[in-house]
Amino acid sequence: MSELFQETIIISIFAATIRIATPLILAALGELITERAGILNLGVEGTMLMGAFMAFVGAYFSDSIVIGIILAMIGSALMSFITVFMAATLKVEQVVTGLAVNLLAAGMTIYIYKLFFSGGAGGFPTIDPMPTLALPLLSKIPYIGPIFFTQKAITYIAFFMIPAVWFFLYRTKWGLEIRCLGENPKVIDTKGMSVTVRQYFAVIMGGVLIGLGGAFLTIGLVGRFVPEITAGRGWLALVIVIAGNWRPSGILLAALAFAFLEALQLQIQGIGVTHLPYQIFLGLPYVIAIVLMVLKSGKGRSEEPARLGMPYFRGER
């Protein structure tokens, strides 16, 4: 085990933590905005997958990372639109809607991928993933430089989003209205404002962040798309929102915790330090997620939005 404590390895673990946390933070923040508006979006996994896929498609055909990102945002916005249309306009049970969106995204991405990308003699198509953006001066700081300031652009965006989303929710009028939606939408309605319009706005905006998180997986990390590349990260994002008690600061901590475990586990596997089967490490995040939820139950005042998951009906007696 002592091999782990070498300087380069420690830096590598922490740097990996930041990298791995990126999609989790983006997806969790996106889901936070949606849930604050009272909508439980269980289609995070599918939205993320669509973002990942569209990012790859965009970057592959245009050779431009930026086009990939834009396409990812469009794809995830579309998935979110379906989600909020079913939840807010048609008032379908939100749990089932989310699952349907996941299945749709999974089915469509695999189908289109198999149609256009596989079966060639050249194996699986790849693109060059995003370059690492080392920030001038800052990245030269010993220890901290390589960890925090030698990351990719989307990572910087993700961490910037933490204070940005906080500011949006707690210091702007739109954020205040969105928070009202999750606690008591009747307040918004009786003041003459449209509940539905605001929910659309919140869900689609959140969906774009989720899609960006998905995009990072393909064009930011591996440079190719495989079916189910999201591997449950969307579900983990849901747990992170709960573990973070519906606050951006809590989400940051929870995401970093998961990411750190994952980074640690990768390093341990890579070094071959223990004789434990690797499956334990792969399954660990999911077990931790369950443990976190159990620990959090009943502790402290929950900030879960009071009307989360309940559709709104005007004039309902």
Binding site: K173, W174, E183, K191, G192
Partner: protein, 528 residues
Amino acid sequence: MCGEKTAPQSVAKQVSGRGPELRPFLKVENVTKRFHQVVANDKLSFDVLPGEIHCLLGENGAGKSTIAECIYGIHHQEEGTIYINDKPVALSSPAEAISTGIGMVHQHFVLVESLSVLENIVIGTEAATPILDFKEAEASIRTICERFDVHIDLHAKIWQLPVGQQQWVEILKALFLKVRLLIMDEPTAVLTPQEVQRLFRIFREMTEDGMSVILISHKLDDVMRSDRVTVLRRGKNVGTVTTSNTSKSELTNMMIGREVELRVKRDAHEHSGPLLEIRGLRAKNDFGAEKLSGIDITVNRGEIVGIAGVAGNGQGELFETLMGVRKATDGTVILEGDNITNFSTHNIQKKGMGYIPDDRFSAGLIGDFDVQSNLILGAHKEPPFASKGILNFSKIKEFAQKSIDDFEIKTPSEAAICRTLSGGNAQKVIVAREFAQATKVVLANQPSRGLDVGVIEYMHERLLDKRRSEFGILMASEELDELFGICDRVLVMFKGKILGDFRSEDADIETIGLLMAGQKVSPTRKPV
């Protein structure tokens, strides 16, 4: 009543027919509104003058709330026109109503509990700047509070405030938007008699500025404090009269269409010893705050004990604890000598306790089940309705048909979905079920809320029946008339404690009112 201001001179003159002609601010003309097959408002017409307190009086279901919601844009009428200052308006949403100067305070407050008073008032108004700078708004709201001599902490969160202050936040929302017409839906239900007086004082001050107030109520005491009253019955306007020219009994006659005893006569009946003894009961609410702080109540066999008190002082928590739904953190509950404290709900029911909750559809019935399924809820695992885990449908149907007959439940059949029943019939299903299952004690929380006088009379008769059969009945009610009418004793509950225990012959409204507000009373009243 001393200390009350009288109506502004102009309105008084207009109303008495000797002043200059005042055009009505609001005019409702031949409005009809239907919900599915039910006609809630039937060619309804009335008007409201500026500077007037106008009461809409009627039983529950008469259509008062419906017309108010049409005026406020929540519903849209099928026929008829609404005029503001003689111009017809199409009010298709609350936003449009607000822009024409109409505001509404609902019976159940529409506030975000986790936000502050200031935030609740300012959301959605022009004062909500992008970066939430509330200084100007705050100053303006403070001015309003000073004008009406009301003290409230603008930065307190709603959940921290008592109900009376929450109501003031609702009123402030409307005043902040400078409404000309304020509709108040059953505002006095949650207030002590003294708070009601204060509310009307505030109304009078508002009308002096030319504002109008529509007061929706089924309480005659409220009506007698207004200028004019429009009486509604089954969606129709039975008549608009000036309050000073009419009387309570005339209004009751108009409201119900026949002479009615204002009280059901309770016969003399001696109780036969203690049945349910509650000592030192304590419990917390869902947020961990103590809601019951040492409750002591004795209910005797053959006696009806009533609990007076504004909703929110722990009545719901008391019944939940007695029925085993909420954990008692201290104290005992003894039924016929058996200690049943913190027993499971199932066992408490088996011991003979029944409960008629205040939330009919969220705690009393399963709306999506049919009537017969609801009638066996709680008895669905044992004979005669089930044996060895299998339901006995013929016995269930038989019981349902008998209950429907006995309790005169208006339903197409026993297989009708409960959600389609009216409030009164839904209550009858609950009562039929609880009376069949309970063998010793019946608990009831606000049993007559939202019901017509006819159904209320019926329920009172059945409760008095149970009293004759040596049941013990404990009920909480906001209607003091009801308590004095059928209860042998009246207790007052305030902030989780019992502050008074009187024989109903010995009690008077003044004392009860003070106790309901938490004020101590001098020991000239003798508790039992």
